[in-house]
C-alpha cells in the first residue's frame, strides 16, 4: 500500500513540536531530554479546555500542529492510536471503585475514560463529522494506527490524520505498565499527490505487512533509545527519516511476531 506524508508533528521529551525539533531529529543539533509541557487545547471552549487531562492535551496538541496549515481540518478522517488510553483516569476510577469509604465515580471522569475521548474532543474542537477510529495495540499501537490510516487512504481515497500518543500511567498500574515520558506523533497522510493543490508533501510511503518479528535494531544514540520507552515513540525512526529528508527502509514492530516494513522516499 502507498500513500504520501504531508505535515508532521511531534511532542516528547526534548522535542517540543516539529518546527522546534526538526534539526534535532535530522541529526544536525544534539538532543537533550527536557520536561514535556502540555498546553491546554486552544481548539476547545474555555470551560472544556480547563478540564482536559494530560492525555487529551497531548493528543490534541500533536493533531493541531500536524494540521496547522490544512485548509479544511474538519474534512480529515482521523485515526487515533494509543496503548494506555487515559491510563491516569482509568487508574483514578479504579481507585474510586476500591475506596473503603464507598464508591463515588465521577461522571466526567467516566466519559473521559473511553479510549476515543481524545478523538471525540478533536472532532468537537474542529467541528468535524468525518469518520474516526481509535485503536489500542500495546507496544504496537503506533504500527496499528499507521496500518489503519494507510489502509483508509488506500481504500477510501481520502486524506487521513493519524495521531499516536501515550502518557505514563499512575501507581499502581505504572509498575505493571511502565511508560516513559509523554510522547505523541501526528501525520497527515494523503492519496495521490495530484489530488491536492498547494499542500506540501514530504515523502512517499510504501507499507508492507511482514509476518515475522522486526529485525533487532539496538539504539544507536540516546534519542533512538526513547523509542522503547513509550509506544507512540516507536514513530521516531520514521520522524527522523522525514526530518533528514532521507530515503529509508524501516521496520516498525506491530506484534511479537509481525511488523510493518516502511519504504520512505522524500519528495
Amino acid at each position: 500500500m502507498r500513500c504520501w506524508i504531508g505535515s508532521v508533528a511531534v511532542i516528547g521529551p526534548g522535542l517540543p513540536g516539529w518546527a522546534a525539533s526538526e534539526a534535532v531529529l535530522a541529526g544536525g543539533s544534539p538532543w537533550t531530554r527536557t520536561e514535556v509541557t502540555l498546553p491546554p487545547p486552544a481548539l476547545l471552549p474555555p470551560t472544556e479546555r480547563r478540564r482536559t487531562s494530560p492525555t487529551v492535551r497531548l493528543a490534541l496538541a500533536a493533531a493541531a500542529e500536524a494540521t496547522a496549515e490544512e485548509a479544511d481540518r474538519a474534512a480529515l478522517e482521523t485515526v487515533f492510536a494509543s496503548s494506555n488510553g487515559d491510563g491516569v483516569i482509568v487508574g483514578s476510577i479504579l481507585d474510586a471503585l476500591h475506596d473503603p469509604a464507598g464508591v463515588t465515580v465521577s461522571p466526567t471522569q467516566f466519559h473521559n475514560s473511553v479510549h476515543n475521548a481524545p478523538a471525540g474532543y478533536w472532532h468537537i474542537g474542529v467541528s468535524s463529522t468525518a469518520p474516526s477510529v481509535s485503536l489500542g495495540g500495546y507496544d504496537g499501537s503506533f504500527a496499528a494506527g499507521l496500518l489503519t490510516a494507510v489502509t483508509t487512504v488506500a481504500v477510501r481515497g481520502r486524506a487521513v490524520l493519524l495521531c499516536a500518543y501515550d502518557v505514563p500511567m499512575s501507581s499502581p498500574l505504572a509498575a505493571v505498565r511502565p511508560t516513559g515520558a509523554a510522547f505523541a506523533a501526528a501525520f497527515v497522510l494523503r492519496p495521490e499527490p495530484g489530488s491536492v493543490s498547494g499542500s506540501s508533501l514530504r515523502a512517499a510511503l510504501e507499507l508492507r505487512y511482514r509476518a515475522v518479528p522486526a529485525p533487532e535494531a539496538p539504539p544507536t544514540d540516546a534519542l533512538d533509545a526513547l523509542a522503547v520507552e513509550n509506544p507512540a515513540a516507536r514513530a521516531l525512526p520514521l520522524l527522523r527519516a522525514l526530518a533528514a529528508r532521507r530515503a529509508a527502509v524501516l521496520h516498525v514492530p506491530l506484534l511479537e511476531d509481525a511488523h510493518l516494513e516502511l519504504r520512505v522516499a522524500p519528495c
Binding site: S83, V90, L94, V114, A130, S141, T148, A175
Partner: protein
Amino acid sequence: MPESAAMWPLSLSACTVVTALGPGVAPLRRALHVRQGGLAPCDLPDMPEGIWIGRVPGLEDVALPPPLASFACRNNRLAELALASDGFMAAAEAARDRYGPERMAVVLGTSTAGIEQTEQAYRRRDPADGALPRDFDYARTHDLQSLPRYVRARLGLKGPALVVSTACTSGAHAVLEAAALIAAGLVDAAVAGGVDSLCRMTLHGFASLELLTRGGPCRPCAADRDGISIGEAAGLMLLERAAAGPEDAPLLLGAGASSDGHHMSSPHPEGLGAVTAMRAALAAAGLDPEAVDYVNLHGTGTRANDAMEDRAVHHLFGDAVPCSSTKGWTGHALGASGAVEAVIAALCLEDGLVPGCLGVETPDPEFRSNVAAGNRTAPLRRVLSNSFGFGGSNCSLVVGRPAA
C-alpha cells in the same frame, strides 16, 4: 464513494454470538421468537443497587487452553466461549488453511477488555505499598490488545491483529476496519466483531451518569424509558470476499461511520452524526433508503439516545421502515453490541423476523418513525444496524440476504 465497487459486498461466512441468553445463535433466536429476554436482577457483588444486567451464564467456568492460560480474564473467557459456539472456530481454521495464516486478520472491538481482572487484582493489593499482585498479567488481560492477541493465538493466525475501542461503536467499527483490510488486499479474510464483559468500572460509571434503569429491564423506545441495562456479550463474524464465501451466507453490503463533533456523552439532538453514518453505509452499499426492510436500532433505552435516533431514522426512512431495538433481550453490550446486532440482523433476514422492542406496550407517542413493539413477520432482504457511542462515534452496517 470510491470504495463501493471494490470493497462491497463481503460474505459473513460464519457468525456467532454469546449473550445473556447463552452461548450461540440458537438460544438468542429462540428468545427473539418467543419474546423472552435474558436480563435479570444483578447478582454480581459490589454493583449499583437495583439494576438488571445481561450476564452470560456459566462464563466463570470457561477454561482457556493451558498454553494460553495467562490470558485468563472474564473478557477472554467470553471470547473463548464465542469461538467454541456455532462451529466458528472450525470455520475460521478452514479459512486459515485455505488462505494461509498470514492472510487472515483479527479486528475486534472492546471498551474495557479484561479490566475486570484488574478490579480483582486491586482487591489483592499489597497493604503496605498498594502494589498489584505479582501474578497479575496486565498485557494479557487489562490491555485492549489482549483480546485480538488471544483470538489470533487461539486460531493460529499470523495476520494483523487490531483492537478498535470507540466506546459503544467498537464492535461495528471493527467490522468496517476489517472490511478495509480485505479491500486493500492486505488480507483475504478476517475475524471481526466485538467482546465486552461486565465489570464494576462500566456499571458504576454508567450509574454515575444516571443512565441506568433500576428495578427492571431496559425499555428502549417506551414513553417511560429511563435508562440502560448493561449486558456482556461477544459477536464474531468471519469476513471474506463475497465470491469466496458459502452461497447461502448473509452478506455485509456496506458500512459507514461518522463523528458527532458535538459532545462527549450526549448525542447531537437532531441525530446529525447518526444520519451521516446511516447515509454513508447506504452509499457504500449503493442503496437508497427504500431498499432497507428493517432498522435494528442502537436503542439503548436512555431518554436522549432513543429520541435522537427516532429523529435520525425518521429523517431518512420516514415511517415506512419498521425499526426496533433488541437490547431488551441482551442488554447494552457496549463494545460488543454492534457486532452482536449485526448477527441479529442476519438472523432476522433468515427468519423474516422484525423483533419488536421487548417490554414496550406502546412506543413513545412522540416518536415518528415506525417503531415495532410486537414481533412482525415479513420477508426481509436488507437490514440496517446502528451503533452510537461516547465521544460522538457513530457506525452503521447494512446486512443483506444472499443475492439480495
